[in-house]
């Protein structure tokens, strides 16, 4: 009996030591590419089901091929005709690898758009070989490497671009993404910082910096990054996500308000400031949205636990500013109220109630004007 147990222990130990095959280096890239690619809609799935695989027709492919032919004609024929002057009157057939770098580059772009990745890569290689100093050619070669899962070559190409063109933002940005995706957050931040030196408001660099700081547990910088992002980006899912990130950190300087069917991000700290200039921009944003929600009644509620008069002052100021921005067109009624108490909200981080003061709550309800008319 003991012998059997000993044998089983030994086999179990050997099982722990069994070897694994190495997954191909390009596998992750391919997976992520498929993750990023949206699923085809039901029409395309149905079409693929009917037409696979022998009779293949792709509208995108057709457009791409047409585009490639046009580009090849333009790049290969027209340019060479220009340089040849009057002698260019004869017809010239364009080989797949013309000696015109720009034509190769444009064909590569067209093929990449048509998902012909390996073919695109060959054209980018040619373009780079002809004009290695052109940053955009090397950059797009890197993109093609990415699309074919050649991660190391992708990075090498980006590095090559930024060595020779330290200000070339697209490559700096993609290097940032590359490092972020691979969990190298500090390196990602280095590149995002370099991007932001050139384009301080680039949304991807701002938002992803916040993500990288989150991963590094640097809360102060995370907050700063998401706030910077929200200073210039108030719509779309990324703005909503940035607000959620801040709320998770207990920072409610930005909040999301629902106005009819819209969700709007406003900077609360600017709304409650006594200087009118601070809340101007916020009220302008609110007016834009409220103009599209004319069936709604707007409620603005101001809280200030220290001084009721300040809460009232703020409510009146916000309404006046909003009315100025709304203009003469029709809009729903605006109601204001104020309280000498803190606003109680539920924290999304731990579900606990939080007290906010000073604070502003803005929401809308369907306007009941029609009902009143019926009642009368």
């Amino acid at each position: 009996m003991n012998n059997i147990q000993d044998d089983d222990k030994k086999i179990a130990e050997l099982l722990r030591q069994t070897r694994e095959q190495e997954a191909p280096a390009w596998l992750k890239q391919q997976i992520m590419q498929r993750v990023y690619t949206p699923r085809p809609n039901p029409y395309h799935r149905l079409k693929n089901w009917f037409f696979q695989p022998n009779l293949h027709f792709s509208p995108v492919g057709l457009v791409a091929v047409t585009l490639v032919v046009c580009i090849a004609f333009w790049g290969g024929v027209m340019k060479e005709r220009q340089s040849a002057g009057a002698a260019g009157s004869q017809a010239i057939a364009v080989s797949p690898f013309t000696n015109n770098a720009e034509a190769n580059y444009l064909i590569g772009r067209g093929l990449l758009a048509a998902d012909q990745r390996e073919a695109a890569l060959a054209f980018f290689h040619r373009a780079v070989a002809l004009e290695p100093e052109r940053a955009e050619y090397v950059h797009w070669q890197a993109v093609a490497y990415w699309s074919t899962g050649k991660e190391d070559l992708e990075r090498q190409s980006y590095f090559k671009v930024v060595q020779e063109h330290p200000d070339y933002v697209p490559s700096l940005l993609n290097l940032g993404h590359n490092f972020l995706e691979n969990g190298k957050y500090n390196k990602a931040l280095d590149y995002y910082q370099r991007v932001l030196q050139h384009e301080p408001q680039l949304p991807e660099a701002l938002y992803n910096s916040g993500l990288a700081y989150q991963r590094l547990d640097e809360e102060t910088r995370e907050k700063e990054a998401f706030k910077n992002f929200l200073e210039t980006n108030r719509t779309g899912k990324w703005a909503l996500r940035a607000v959620e990130h801040l709320h998770q950190l207990g920072d409610f300087s930005f909040r999301t308000y629902r106005i009819g069917m819209y969700r709007l991000v406003l900077k609360v700290t600017d709304l409650v400031q006594s200087a009118p200039a601070a809340s101007q921009k916020e009220m302008e944003l609110l007016a834009d949205v409220f103009n599209h929600a004319s069936e709604q009644e707007l409620q603005i509620v101001v809280y200030n636990s220290e001084e009721r008069s300040k809460a009232k002052q703020t409510a009146l100021r916000l309404r006046d500013q909003l009315l100025r921005h709304l203009g003469p067109g029709p809009h729903g009624p605006i109601k204001i109220s104020w309280f000498d108490a803190a606003e109680t909200i539920s924290s999304s981080a731990d579900g606990q109630n939080l007290k906010l003061s000073p604070s502003v709550l803005i929401f809308s309800t369907p306007s009941n004007m029609d009902k009143r008319r019926n009642t009368i």
């Binding site: 099982l15 030591q17 069994t18």
Partner: protein, 186 residues
């Protein structure tokens, strides 16, 4: 900085798709190997691994946050491998063993460092491939990946006692296979 799988899943579901790459980093190796054991060649294993991760990504919302992520992922991958396997005919199985041996021979030349222990491991690896696929995968999940019985049960959607029973039987079968080999060799 170690972020749990569950935290990453939460963030991916919140819209940060790029973080799915971290899960791929963590688990592509076991999933690829699982697929390799079923498919028997690298290309097919890579394709199946891609399909598996895509399926995992698409079904991420179904993952229950109070569960452990790896067994859940593994169960999806196993189901995919089984589906694929059902579609293939028996001829493929014969090919599989031949190719498996060829692949392993390639590895052998690379890691030819060791002696007796290495031979024993090789014998166990060959023995594993002779077991029924579910028994084989249960043993691998339990011992190679160090999963607790509870997680193995969750991955295969069977009871814990059934897992224990299959492990016991699997070890007995392996013991028998190894014994046969030993006697043949001696």
């Amino acid at each position: 900085m170690d972020y749990s799988d569950e935290e990453i899943v939460k963030d991916v579901l919140a819209g940060e798709k790029q973080l799915f790459g971290l899960l791929v980093d963590r688990y592509q190796q076991p999933v690829y190997n699982l697929m390799f054991r079923y498919a028997g060649n690298r290309d097919e294993a890579a394709d199946l691994t891609q399909d598996a991760f895509l399926r995992i990504f698409e079904r991420l919302r179904l993952f229950q946050a109070d569960k452990v992520f790896f067994p859940w992922l593994y169960s999806l991958a196993i189901n995919l491998a089984k589906d694929w396997s059902r579609k293939k005919n028996r001829q493929h199985r014969k090919m599989f063993l031949l190719q498996q041996q060829a692949e392993e021979t390639q590895i052998d030349t690379a890691v030819h460092e060791d002696s007796e222990n290495r031979q024993e491991i090789e014998q166990v690896e060959h023995g594993l491939m002779l077991l029924p696929s579910q028994t084989r995968e249960i043993l691998i999940l339990r011992y190679r990946h160090g999963c607790p019985i509870q997680d193995v049960a969750s991955a295969f959607k069977i009871s814990e006692s059934a897992v224990k029973m299959r492990i016991k039987r699997g070890l007995a079968q392996l013991r028998g296979i190894l014994l046969d080999k030993e006697s043949l060799q001696s």
